[in-house]
């Protein structure tokens, strides 16, 4: 009989102090926290056994987020709350676990589960810039951006990949973009394409914070 599998999906926050940590280095942050917490993590087979952790798509370097996800496979059953508490007492302060659920097969991987991501973009736009940008955006039939591809630069239409775009005041915008494997749209790419058209040369991004991600099995 196959061994039972114990997998928890955790939602976590990445704060300012780890905004420049690359995805690969960030994996180590988790592995080391799990070792410090003495969590009985499951390992892969082979010459160089690794902890069985599966992360979502890498958060772009420089971003902060309160909607990141990881699946952790353990050798024994952990209540999600217990795993959250163990990790929170051993992760460095800028990383916090928000919630967790047990996964039962069959389930979609994190990457496959994501539909849309919501971001808060902090910019140096003035209210009048923002008015122009929002009005222009709402009236536009489409928004184009140039993507680098193997066969040279390619113009792509992205408005259909944006579910929501609005101004929150004080230079802050909220944007909800498609996060699927096939049509992932980076918020900075979208924002620069929009502002480049409706307020060219006058708006710069200060910081981007991911606020939400629509992932199954986690509310």
């Amino acid at each position: 009989m196959e061994n039972p599998e114990f997998i928890c999906r955790l939602k976590y926050e990445r704060g300012e102090d780890v905004r420049f940590v690359s995805h690969l280095d960030f994996v180590k942050v988790f592995e080391r926290a799990l070792r410090r917490a003495a969590v009985r993590v499951a390992y892969s087979e082979g010459f160089n056994p690794r902890m069985l952790l599966v992360f979502g798509n890498p958060l772009p370097v420089g971003f902060t987020s309160c909607a990141e996800f990881v699946d952790i496979k353990t050798q024994t059953d952990y209540a999600p709350e217990e795993l959250c508490a163990l990790l929170n007492s051993h992760l460095p302060a800028p990383v916090r676990i928000i919630s967790g659920v047990r996964l039962v097969k069959p389930y979609d991987s994190i990457v496959k589960s994501v539909r849309y991501n919501t971001y808060r973009i902090f910019s140096d736009a003035s209210d009048s810039d923002a008015d122009n940008i929002i009005r222009g955006y709402n009236d536009a039939e489409g928004i184009e951006t140039v993507k680098k591809s193997k066969s040279g630069p390619k113009t792509v239409e992205i408005k259909q990949l944006i579910r929501r775009f609005g101004y929150d005041g004080e230079g802050g915008f909220t944007i909800e973009t498609c996060g699927t494997q096939e049509n992932n749209l980076r918020p900075d790419v979208a924002f620069n394409a929009i502002t480049g058209r409706f307020a060219p040369g006058s708006v710069g991004i200060l910081h981007i914070h991911k606020t939400d991600s629509s992932v199954q099995l986690l509310l």
Binding site: V18, R19, F20, D25, R32, A33, R36, G62, L206
Partner: protein
């Protein structure tokens, strides 16, 4: 909040190096009485791999009245922006500029980092020359192995720590607290420090040169007679096992070169390889007991979560309790899926068995430091390893599934002939033959045999402190000989000859070297240990301008001539070094410290192997 704004950090390589906040980094109140900026004169990844800095960081921060922070050299992309936009060098923990700290400490590891020392001081807004520092400016303090000849940097430092830093540094901090509370002038602190054993205050001494411009002597200035010691005796902690042991390490977010738990199993070396400065200046060998090491390993593991423990020393297999220690560690590490790394381990059946047990990593390769191609030359340098040892070890390794061997050699060793050099490729070929012999009749991949060659740089406090380095053209010719003989069939790597030539100029330099370092830095900035920022031409020009040809030492040296480091007493006596030098010329070897004491002089420290302990 980071000191460097995001708008800049987005545009530089690896910005995580500059934002701090790593696990176990220490943050204290900004008004902590003593603020110590511990600098490493190289990039974050190099500096964060260094044991001494971690150890002293943990030690200094164990006192609540001291806040020790880390400072690394910003990579040139960031430095350029910092200079053009008016940012100054800052400490990672507080993200504050360091120009108002109490101390700027540098650990000096290699000569080619000296330009970075000057660069970092300048970037911090601190006068580069010690004589230009007035009241209220931090004290600049140096330690580490390069300090056994502090003279090239003498004009840039307020004080040096010669020897083991642990006890000395805390005494300096106590002394500082007292001085600060009494609101005395700057000079009074330096005078008080000069009374602490192991402390060298270069401003209290002056150099004299003879009519030909040769170094004649360093003497205590008249006004500091009775205050400054002559010689300055290296500080040694005799009871090493009883002294402070590191129990916490900062865990970097972005990977350092060596990113793992570091256990210093002993200090010093019994071997006495005549080319190796570290083998002399850390004597006597003093071990930690396995119990203390195991305890520290577990504490470090609980606090860091690292996946690997490295046992650090100058020669792992000389640790007398290696089996006991590794037996104790294995149970702990296996359960946690951790590796144990055993650098500089001799290959024999014991070590292979051990490596099999402890390492979860693939069998990639083994390293043999043979250093010289012939037995004659290995006897000259007292490298106690024979070709038979190598082939026996290699055979065992090949039979146990290892597919690669890396060989370390030096060229330019004293008495070296072309025959010695040409023996190097022959050994590589014999190892390849041995590999196929071990796998006769099997279908195997070809072995990965790599030859790595560096150029010998004679160092002070070794028996070769009097000899010259071979010329630049000779280095190139010998490297070419090896390269041609290897004929592309083996891996081959070598140290740039230009770097070795400059290292040689600095390693045995006197105070006049200071102007070379200063002028080179002024012309091209720092990072000379990185070949992309190293400029050989500028170094040669400045050395020439200072009247230094680059040739130091002689094949027929006057062993009684004054040396620029004569005022430093490392415990190793000149008489001993002379004896070893003459034995080397005759090709006579010396036994190690455990087999028979060679009366090097370090027995006066009454520590470790000298008093019958290991």
């Amino acid at each position: 909040m980071s000191y460097i704004p995001d708008s800049i950090l987005y545009n530089v390589e690896k910005p995580a190096r500059y934002t701090g906040g790593e696990l176990n980094s220490v943050v204290k109140p900004k008004d902590t009485p003593v603020r110590f900026a511990f600098c490493f004169a190289d990039s974050y990844e190099i500096g964060m791999s260094h044991l001494g800095m971690k150890l002293l960081y943990d030690l200094l921060n164990s006192r609540e009245w001291i806040w020790c922070e880390r400072v690394f050299a910003p990579w040139p992309d960031l430095e350029k922006i910092m200079r053009s936009e008016g940012y100054r060098l800052f400490a990672l923990e507080s993200q504050e500029e360091i120009k108002n700290h109490d101390f700027i400490g540098f650990t000096l590891q290699y000569e080619l980092s000296y330009t970075n020392v000057l660069n970092m001081l300048d970037l911090a807004g601190i006068p580069v020359y010690a004589r230009d520092r007035g009241e209220g400016v931090p004290f600049v303090i140096g330690g580490g192995p390069s300090c056994v000849n502090p003279e090239p940097l003498a004009e840039f430092f307020d004080l040096f720590n010669i020897g083991d830093g642990e006890a000395m540094l805390l005494e300096i901090m106590e002394c500082y607290r007292e001085w600060k509370s009494r609101k005395l002038p700057r000079i009074e602190f330096l005078k008080a420090c000069a009374a602490i054993p192991g402390v060298y205050v270069p401003a209290f001494y002056e150099a004299e040169y003879d009519g030909q411009g040769n170094f004649a002597r360093l003497k205590v200035k008249d006004e500091y007679k009775g205050i400054a010691a002559y010689p300055v005796e290296r500080r040694v902690i005799p009871d090493f096992d009883g002294t402070f042991i590191m129990k916490n390490q900062v865990v970097p977010y972005c990977e350092a070169i060596h990113d793992r738990i570091m256990l210093e199993i002993f200090r010093g070396c019994i071997r006495g390889c005549r080319f190796c400065q570290a083998g002399y200046i850390y004597r006597p060998v003093r071990e930690r007991s396995p119990g203390k090491l195991l305890d520290a390993a577990m504490k470090l593991s609980e606090r860091t979560g690292y996946e690997e423990i490295s046992l650090l020393s100058l020669a792992t297999d000389d640790y007398s309790c290696l089996k006991e220690l590794t037996d104790g560690l294995i149970g702990y590490t296996e359960e946690r899926h951790m590796n144990i790394a055993l650098p500089s381990l001799r290959v024999d059946s014991f070590s292979l068995d051990l490596m099999q047990k402890i390492s979860k990593v693939r069998k990639s390769g083994l390293t043999f430091a043979l250093e010289a191609g012939t037995q004659r030359l290995r006897d000259v340098i007292n490298k106690g390893i024979t070709e038979e040892d190598l082939y026996e070890g290699a055979r065992l390794a090949f039979e146990n599934g290892y597919g690669g061997i890396k060989l370390y050699f030096m060229i330019g060793l004293p008495t070296e002939t072309d025959e010695d050099v040409m023996a190097i490729p022959v050994i590589a070929q014999r190892l390849r033959d041995l590999y196929y012999e071990c796998h006769a009749g099997e279908k195997v991949r070809s072995p990965k045999i790599t030859v790595s060659v560096s150029t010998f740089v004679p160092k002070c406090f070794t028996p070769f402190q009097w000899v010259p380095q071979i010329s630049y053209d000779e280095i190139r010719r010998k490297l070419r000989m090896i390269k041609d003989a290897l004929n592309g069939r083996f891996g081959f790597s070598w140290q740039d000859p230009e770097l070795s030539v400059v290292e040689n100029i600095l390693a045995r330099g006197d105070r006049r070297c200071g102007s070379i370092i200063y002028n080179v830095w002024k012309r091209k900035g720092g990072f000379d240990s990185w070949s992309e920022f190293f400029d050989y031409k500028i170094w040669l020009e400045e050395a020439g301008a200072a009247g230094i040809s680059g040739v130091r030492g002689s094949d027929e040296p006057d062993l009684d001539a004054p040396l620029p480091w004569d005022h430093i007493d490392t415990g190793i006596t000149k008489e001993f070094l002379k004896r070893e030098y003459l034995k080397a010329r005759l090709g006579v070897t010396s036994p190690d410290c455990r087999t028979k004491c060679q009366a090097c002089g370090c027995a006066k420290y009454k520590g470790g192997v000298c008093v019958g302990k290991s």
